[in-house]
């Protein structure tokens, strides 16, 4: 049995789905944040796998970009979550519905 690109794609799809479902069902901002990271890394996995299968470096280069952006996003996101937690003593996103129309 060979582990081909299909396996990686399946794994990535599973990881992405877990991330997306977690994103939709959890209320804790921190956990939702981790779910986003999970989705991003699932995508990264597809990039690397596809790059390897096609024999180009493009996939790995894209992963670098994603990692850089994700790092920056984590900085900003965590700062916001900490600030919100300090102000409200909660990290539940359901409490944060000021923009309700």
């Amino acid at each position: 049995m060979t582990v081909g690109p299909g396996w990686y794609m399946t794994l990535a799809a599973a990881l992405f789905s877990i991330g997306a479902i977690g994103m939709l069902v959890r209320r804790n901002a921190l956990v939702m944040f981790m779910c986003i990271e999970l989705m991003l890394n699932a995508v990264n996995l597809t990039f690397v796998a596809a790059g390897r299968a096609l024999g180009t470096l493009d996939g790995q280069v894209s992963v670098f970009f994603v990692l850089v952006v994700a790092a920056a996003e984590v900085v900003v996101g965590l700062a916001i979550i900490v600030a919100v937690f300090r102000a409200r003593a909660t990290a539940s996103v359901d409490e944060l519905s000021e923009l309700k129309g």
């Binding site: 939709l24 996103v93 944060l96």
Partner: protein, 630 residues
């Protein structure tokens, strides 16, 4: 002196600016003296520059002060020819006397110095008008005198009637200005320039009869507005709300003659358009008769003079319309003398009677105001056309030309003759009602002669009103020679040189004048009760007559009321309903759509996530099922 010509306009203009800032500090009467000296200075400069014309050696000169709008041939350009010179001398000469008179008349007024600011500004504007070397600059002066007229009529603006009169004068004049402006556009499209030099020399080659007639009629519309002819004369009687010196300066001697001046100045154009010229003459004659008939029934001392002015302006139009440009301008000059005198005399009476203007409450003033009475008598005889007073010579020249012209103009001559009779009648009526007979004053009125600043102008003007006619008699046509260079290439109609014709025509018109004087004297010399009872016995028609045939009401019903209705409809139906409605409607739609869509924003991240994921699923499903390339 030609190099200093710009000073003629600059001196009064400087006066206006200077008095605007420092007039209040100068106070009374210094501000008035400054203004008087400046306009007097203008007169001296103009007289000096006109000397060559008097010697008969003068040449027409154009002085370009600076470029203004070269594309339409309009610079700040002064045209110095005998016609301009004569107009400038009248404006500055009569103007100086009226400035001097105003020092006495306006004494004690709160806004004494402000009055002289306006007077000086008016003089500068009028001088711009007559000195202009192109139609654009003429129009500039034309509009400025209109503005000054508005400011001066409504000088006592706290009186609602004065404010309304100023507004009316301005609005009615705008109607005329509209025609005038279209005329200027037509001139520009025909000639490619507005400069007199480029127009008058080339007029015969460029203009066909049709275009010349159109230009002539359009300029006439402007002249009708400014010179208060039928049908736009209604503003002038109301303009009597202004201080009396204003009536004398603007609404008798200078501004209202601007229309006559424009027709005379545009003589080369009217020469090519006999129909337009005939229209000028006809409107003039009809106005003369119409206004004179209204003047017969007026009781306000200034209203009589206002209608008389309209009537006399009609004579001038009759003159310039029959191509008798010299006669028309001649009458303009003599009229400036005797009408300014009449207004200033009336002002002196009003001043002495403590602001009483109703002639029914005067009478017997000759004993108390001898100088005013004598000078007014001179003016009355002059306007009535009794030789050798000035009005006789100029009016007879106009009538003589009309008679010679033959055809339709003979009808106009008869109208002019009847007008002469009426003129003599209403002027004598006024003189008798004011100065003769038994006093009918209100209690507490003590008539007194006016101060010297007021009587000296009266005396000077009386001299001019008496002798001003001798500059152009059938024996000695000095004015004609003087004006000739200004009308190069224009055929000027002249009265018959045969003395027998002259004497015959003169005899007829003098007879008309004497008849009018005698009739009025006999009718109004009797005790006041007699003619008052007679007037009252006429009942409603007399009141209709007294109210100037209620032309104002007619215009009100025909033009003003529909205009108001239209404005109201536009403002409250169209603007509020449709224009504002459309704008509000857009806002309303946006708000309703927003309100409908607002619940979509739940504020829960989860909901947004679901939509997001659902969207991704749909897109991916689409790609899988339909394929990528689309």
């Amino acid at each position: 002196m030609i190099d200093l010509l710009w000073l003629v306009i600059a001196l009064p203009l400087f006066g206006a600016v200077f008095l605007h800032f420092f007039g209040r500090r100068l106070g009374e009467p210094a501000a008035g003296w400054v203004a008087t000296l400046l306009i007097g200075g203008s007169f001296v400069v103009a007289a000096g520059a006109a000397v060559p014309f008097f010697r008969g050696t003068g040449e027409n000169v154009r002085v370009l002060l600076w470029e203004w709008m070269p594309a339409i041939g309009a610079g700040f350009e002064l045209q110095w020819d005998p016609l301009a010179a004569l107009m400038v001398l009248i404006v500055t000469g009569v103007g100086s006397l009226i400035h001097l008179y105003s020092i006495g008349y306006m004494s004690g007024d709160e806004r004494f110095s402000r009055f002289f600011v306006y007077l000086n500004l008016f003089a500068a504007s009028m001088l711009t008008l007559v000195l202009a070397g192109n139609y654009a600059m003429l129009f500039l002066g034309w509009e400025l005198v209109g503005l000054c007229s508005y400011l001066l009529i409504s000088f006592w603006f706290t009186r609602p009637s004065a404010a309304a009169a100023g507004k009316k004068a301005f609005v009615v004049n705008r109607i005329g200005d509209f025609g005038f402006m279209v005329g200027l556009m037509l001139i520009f499209t025909s000639f490619g320039t507005l400069s007199y030099a480029g127009i008058f020399e080339r007029a015969p080659e460029v203009l066909g009869t049709g275009v010349a007639t159109a230009i002539g009629l359009l300029l006439l519309v402007g002249a009708i507005g400014k010179s208060a002819q039928i049908p736009l004369y209604v503003w002038l009687p109301d303009a009597m709300e202004g201080p009396t010196p204003v009536s004398a300066l603007i609404h008798a001697a200078t501004m209202v003659t601007a229309g006559v001046y424009v027709v005379a100045r545009s003589a080369p154009i009217y020469q090519l358009a006999p129909f337009a010229a005939g229209t000028v003459a006809t409107i003039g004659a009809l106005t003369a008769l119409w206004a004179a008939s209204i003047a017969l029934a007026q009781n306000d001392i200034k209203k009589v003079l206002a209608y008389s002015t309209i009537s006399q302006l009609g004579y001038m139009f009759l003159g310039v319309g029959t191509a008798a440009y010299v006669a028309g301008v001649f009458h303009l000059m003599t009229h400036a003398f005797f009408k300014a005198l009449l207004f200033l005399g009336a002002g002196s009476v009003i001043h002495g009677m403590a602001d009483e203007q109703d002639m029914r409450k005067m009478g017997g003033l000759a004993r108390h105001m001898p100088i005013t009475a004598v000078t007014m008598a001179v003016a009355t005889l002059a306007i009535a056309g009794i030789p050798p007073f000035s009005g006789f010579w100029s009016k007879d020249e106009i009538l003589g030309v009309a008679f010679e012209a033959g055809g339709w103009f003979v009808v106009l001559w008869i109208i002019g003759l009847v007008t002469a009779l009426l003129t003599a009648f209403y002027m004598t009526r006024q003189f008798v009602m004011v100065f003769l007979g038994a006093p009918r004053w209100d209690e507490g009125v003590h008539p007194h002669e006016s101060p010297r600043t007021m009587t000296i102008p009266l005396l000077v003007l009386a001299l001019l009103a008496f002798g001003g006619g001798f500059v152009n008699t059938p024996w000695r046509t000095a004015l004609e020679h003087f004006l000739e260079p200004a009308f190069e290439g224009v055929a000027i109609a002249q009265p018959s040189k045969e003395l027998s014709t002259f004497f015959l025509l003169a005899a007829v018109s003098v007879l008309a004048g004497v008849l009018g004087i005698v009739a009025a004297y006999l009718a109004y010399r009797r005790p006041a009760e007699v003619w008052q009872r007679f007037q009252e016995s006429l009942g409603a028609p007399w009141r209709w007559w007294e109210e100037a045939y209620r032309v104002d009401d007619l215009y009100g019903a025909l033009i003003v009321a529909p205009g108001k209705t239209l404005a109201e409809r536009t403002a409250f139906s169209f603007d509020l309903g449709i224009v504002d409605g459309a704008v509000n409607g857009v806002g309303w739609v946006v708000r309703r759509v927003g309100a409908a869509l607002r619940p979509l924003q739940t504020g829960f991240v989860r909901n947004y996530g679901v939509v997001f994921v659902a969207g991704v699923v749909v897109v991916v499903a689409w790609l899988l099922v339909v394929g990528g390339g689309v």
